[in-house]
């Protein structure tokens, strides 16, 4: 029984290795280009099967895009040029990391903005409470100089009596 379990476990383990990225064979003349190819295909989203990058996707369009990227790399295009090419055709949708531009400011800076807003609210609350506390203290009846002297004298006579 245990043997069967072990074999079964091994099979599951092995099958997970098969679930690697879609494979086509691209021969690169230098490893640096290959690295950039990996990076680009991981950074770009497949327009057809929307939750995969084009490295993982087996859709026709992804295969074509991989080929295109390969060709453009070999033609000496820069990463930016390649990404621009894709965005021109498929829109910002193909980028997993949206660009910073007026339409996406809220997306990029929103969280920081909300944090600052929260801090501001906290500071305001603390200040208003401090103010209220201070005011309460200021309005407490205080003794004039002559009253203070009388009080001291009274206390002294009290101690003297003991």
């Amino acid at each position: 029984m245990l043997k069967i379990k072990i074999i079964f476990g091994l099979l599951i383990l092995l099958s997970s290795f098969m679930l690697s990225a879609a494979i086509d064979v691209y021969q690169f003349d230098d490893p640096e280009k290959e690295k950039r190819f990996q990076h680009l295909t991981f950074e770009l989203r497949c327009p057809k099967c929307q939750n995969q990058n084009i490295a993982d996707s087996n859709a026709e369009i992804s295969q074509d895009l991989r080929t295109k990227i390969f060709q453009m790399l070999n033609a000496g295009k820069s990463d930016d040029e390649i990404v621009d090419y894709m965005v021109e055709r498929y829109g910002d949708f193909v980028l997993y990391e949206p660009r910073v531009k007026p339409q996406t400011y809220l997306l990029w800076f929103g969280p920081g903005l909300f944090l600052l807003l929260g801090l501001l609210v906290v500071v305001l609350i603390i200040r208003s409470r401090n103010k209220a506390y201070k005011e309460a203290n200021d309005h407490a009846p205080s003794l004039s100089n002559s009253e203070a002297k009388t009080l001291d004298a009274l206390l002294k006579t009290k101690q003297g009596k003991k």
């Binding site: 327009p47 057809k48 929307q50 026709e60 369009i61 074509d64 895009l65 295109k68 965005v87 021109e88 055709r89 498929y90 829109g91 949708f93 609350i125 208003s128």
Partner: protein
Amino acid sequence: MPRLLLFIPLLLFFVLAAFLWKGLSIDPRELPSALINKPFPEFSLPALQQPERILTKKDFIGRPVLVNVWATWCPSCRQEHEQLLVIAQAEELPVIGLNYKDERDLALQWLQQLGNPYQFNIYDEEGMLGLDLGVYGAPETYLLDAQGIIRHRHVGVLTAQDWLELKLIIKGWGGVEN
């Protein structure tokens, strides 16, 4: 602290909820075309029926046209074929085919069997014109004005309703009948 301030978080929640609610009804598969109001990409490809004839953008500039991306491997293309024939018969708008990543023999057979709504067909075997167009499947249909500017893109099967909408768009341009 005014009591109204205490309601701010609740208001924020409602605003957020409204946005998320709207998000539910958006179709994520519908991508805005990046090429709307941009010129149709330059190309130089053989015609499907006459392999020796090289087609370029010049072949459809001068009048509004419908460019239909199709292939024999695409079941939805068969579905919309009837509608394309109707459009071709109406003779209001020439239909140009972009035969996308297909095999010539199969495509010719298809046209013979089902009828040919196309003025001519661009044979894009490698799908590279498709890439330039931002095509990510078939069928797709593009409406071009007389200058060859892409004015409208329809992804998926073209229905009679879609055809009516296309006609309205062209009407909106105001008498580009020449």
